[in-house]
């Protein structure tokens, strides 16, 4: 099956780890779900864009936010679990521009996604919230790159995930402080809850810097569900399955709560509950 390199980490490492690049089948790339969704947010303007992927193929979003503009971007991947998906998001932020992005990856048999945010203008800011949920033998491959070029920019990447079944997931998150990005701050955090002994979880938090006057921090925590929480909930009368579901939901709430569309929120909530109940 012919395939192409679809996304790469900005700095390569040992090949045996299998994280340097993600490949996507030509057959998937050949199916453009829509034309590239291009959006220009004018200076001082506030816009919202919500994109929900439900069918096999490749999706592309290209956004430029002008000075002082702001964008709330919601991208949800909700494909049937026997379909393949690829998506890319590129965002450029001018001076003082803001991005609040919510990305949710819950469907598809194999999903490859990438998001590149360029904080080009001084005092631009990006808050990116990611939720992924992998079950059965699904493969999730994500590559998020936040490039800080302007002065006094701020980038926050918060990632929450849960893996069960035989899910296989790679999350790459890069904070890239370019020379000249003085006074910038970057923060990345990934929390992974592993709910099955057969999952494979790969986490790759990169931090690159060509500037000294910055503050960068990243953290990853990978572990199973907190037994104290489960014990507490079960002592209040919940059975194990209900307790597990509640703990996962609570972990996802920081992202799900940012989805303004109530119908979409409800659909995602139901989707995750059903998958957890199936396990």
């Amino acid at each position: 099956m012919a395939e192409k390199i679809y996304s790469e980490i900005p700095m390569r490492t040992w090949r045996w780890l299998g994280v340097n690049e993600a490949r996507v089948a030509d057959a998937v790339l050949a199916q453009d779900i829509d034309d590239v969704q291009s959006l220009s947010v004018a200076a001082g303007e506030s816009r919202e864009l919500t994109v929900v992927y439900r069918q096999e193929g490749q999706g592309r979003i290209d956004v430029k936010v002008a000075e002082g503009g702001s964008l709330k971007l919601t991208v949800v991947q909700l494909l049937p679990t026997d379909k393949r998906h690829a998506s890319q998001v590129a965002v450029e932020l001018a001076r003082g521009a803001r991005l609040e992005a919510v990305a949710v990856e819950v469907g598809a048999a194999r999903s490859v996604s990438k998001m590149e945010v360029l904080l080009q203008g001084d005092e631009s800011r990006a808050d990116v919230h990611v939720l992924y949920f992998g079950n059965e033998a699904r493969q999730l491959d994500m590559n998020y790159v936040l490039v800080q070029e302007g002065r006094q920019t701020e980038a926050n990447l918060n990632v929450y995930g849960a893996l069960l079944g035989q899910a296989d997931k790679i999350f790459r998150g890069t904070l890239d402080f370019r020379h000249g990005s003085k006074g910038s701050k970057g923060y990345e955090k990934e929390q992974v809850m592993v709910l099955s002994g057969k999952v494979r979880n790969r986490s790759v938090p990169l931090m690159l810097s060509g500037e000294d006057a910055v503050e960068g921090h990243h953290a990853v925590s990978i572990g199973k569900m907190d037994e104290n929480k489960l014990f507490y909930l079960m002592s209040r009368g919940l059975d194990m399955a209900e307790a597990r579901r509640l703990v996962v939901e609570a972990a996802f709430n920081p992202v799900l709560d940012r989805i303004g569309d109530e119908e979409l929120y409800g659909e995602l909530d139901d989707y995750i509950k059903e998958r957890l109940a199936d396990e």
């Binding site: 040992w14 002994g197 999952v199 494979r200 938090p205 000294d212 960068g216 925590s221 572990g223 199973k224």
Partner: protein, 469 residues
């Protein structure tokens, strides 16, 4: 106006390390890497037949592998210009008096004989491709401890060497492991019998004097059940205008319940390509402790790897890397949790200045059977100016649900508030900054043997003189 030191320190003062001796080698192989060169080295070293075969097999692997597609640029390295074997004009001695005067005075300046008297139970000293001095305390010999050069080990302990040599680092691992397998020479062999605790450290020091040469020493340490050892490795070279290459290999076998501390201060000259491979296999309840300081070399690629093979095996890795002008130091660690209840703690500090590039690279892998594995990684990077680089590239590859893995990293510069505070207490700005840097590396320094901690502090003082003007 006060003279600013920066104006005058174009390059770092390393007089101690940079004194070159006249090249009085007894023999040098041809530059480049051919079958004839490999056969020549093997014949001169009176290798057994199986070792020659392994060398030739490694050469084939070397020729079949490409350079790494990641990491620092290695295009400056031309193996056709590297002399892989330089035999010094000296036979191995058991007394310093028997070592030729120029070589002895080199090690005198480096403080090795003095340290041997005061704080070491044994010393090995390699000069170019051969070990010129080796000693071990009688009390250790009586307990069955073996500490000798690899060539002697190959003759006197051939079955053990044959079983372990390049088992942890097979030539197919990467191109420079294959190169090592083809042309290795020198290095140390340590064997500690069951239940024996070597209370005073052993130290091997590797000095490369010849210009345009390579050093390929092999260190093989075997700790039997419930034994312990602290092994110290030091290395340096004078600076030349041509590229030198170091592609050593360290293989450590830590038996059940055994404990090995492996400390290194690497201070190669700024024309050195340091492409070294270190790996430890740790059995049940065993402990490997790495303490690693990388200060020298032009390019370094060094990532000690710990394979936690038995239940409750442990790894502690403490490292500091200081990259200055013209240096690209790509360092880090990897841990493979291959058994239940294994644990690892990785703590590193990197500093970059004057255009230097420091990269922290790591891998933590938990195999499916390694339930209840625990690993904590902490990496802090300090940048002293805005013309340098600092990159952090950790990978965690976790299979199974009973692992507890945490990773944390920070990057930034010296806090101006802290400098201001110290200056308000009457400390000069230079001193304040140096204090902060020393405090930054203090968690590492306290793990080093005293004389090495002093050496590291001296190195940091020297390095900082160039930045504070």
């Amino acid at each position: 106006m006060e003279n600013r030191k920066k104006t005058f320190v174009e390059d770092i003062e390393r007089t101690l390390y940079d004194i070159r001796n006249e090249d009085r080698s007894a023999y040098k192989s041809q530059a480049g890497l051919t079958e004839a060169v490999v056969r020549d080295i093997s014949a001169r070293k009176h290798d057994p037949e199986w070792m020659l075969e392994r060398r030739l097999e490694s050469l084939k692997v070397y020729n079949s592998l490409r350079l790494p597609t990641w990491g620092p640029d290695l295009s400056e390295l031309n193996i056709e210009e590297i002399v892989t074997y330089v035999q010094p004009d000296a036979k191995m001695a058991g007394r310093w008096e028997d070592v030729p005067e120029d070589i002895k005075s080199t090690f005198d300046r480096l403080g090795i004989p003095e340290a041997e008297k005061v704080s070491l139970a044994g010393v090995g000293a390699q000069y170019d491709s051969e070990v010129v001095y080796h000693s071990i305390q009688d009390s250790l010999i009586q307990q069955g401890v073996v500490y000798t050069d690899m060539e002697t080990a190959l003759r006197e302990y051939e079955p053990i060497v044959k079983e372990h040599f390049m088992r942890l680092v097979p030539p197919k691992d990467h191109k420079f492991a294959a190169l090592h397998g083809a042309v290795w020479s020198g290095g140390s062999f340590v064997y500690v019998p069951e239940g024996v605790h070597v209370d005073i450290p052993l130290q091997s020091y590797f000095r490369l004097n010849a210009a345009g040469a390579g050093q390929f020493e092999h260190t093989l340490i075997i700790l039997e059940k419930n034994s312990s050892l602290h092994f110290i490795e030091g290395c340096s070279a004078p600076k030349y205008n041509v590229t030198n290459l170091h592609a050593g290999c360290v293989e450590l076998f830590v038996g059940e319940g055994a404990r090995l501390r492996y400390s290194t201060i690497e201070n190669w000259s700024r024309n050195m390509m340091n492409l070294n491979t270190k790996r430890a296999l740790v059995e049940k309840d065993g402990i490997i402790e790495w303490v690693s300081g990388s200060f020298g070399s032009h390019v370094s690629m060094l990532y000690p790897c710990s394979i936690l093979h038995g239940e409750h095996a442990r790894c502690e890795f403490t490292g500091v890397t200081f990259a200055s002008k013209g240096q690209n130091l790509d360092t880090g660690a990897s841990v493979i949790h291959a058994a239940p209840y294994t644990s690892a703690n990785i703590s590193t500090r990197t500093i970059s200045k004057a255009g230097g590039k420091a990269t922290y690279r790591s891998a933590v892998k938990v195999t499916p059977n390694a339930h209840h594995a625990k690993c904590s990684v902490n990496c802090e990077s300090l940048m002293l100016d805005d013309i340098s680089r600092s990159d952090t590239l950790p990978v965690m590859d976790i299979q199974g649900d009973e692992a507890d893995i945490g990773h944390e990293a920070t990057i930034g510069r010296i806090s101006e508030e802290a400098v201001f505070y110290l200056m308000s207490r009457g400390i000069s700005e230079e001193e304040a900054r140096a204090m902060i840097v020393r405090g930054f590396v203090e968690p590492i320094a306290k793990e080093l043997p005293l004389e090495y901690a002093v050496e590291m502090n001296n190195l940091i003082n020297i390095e900082l003189e160039g930045t504070m003007g």
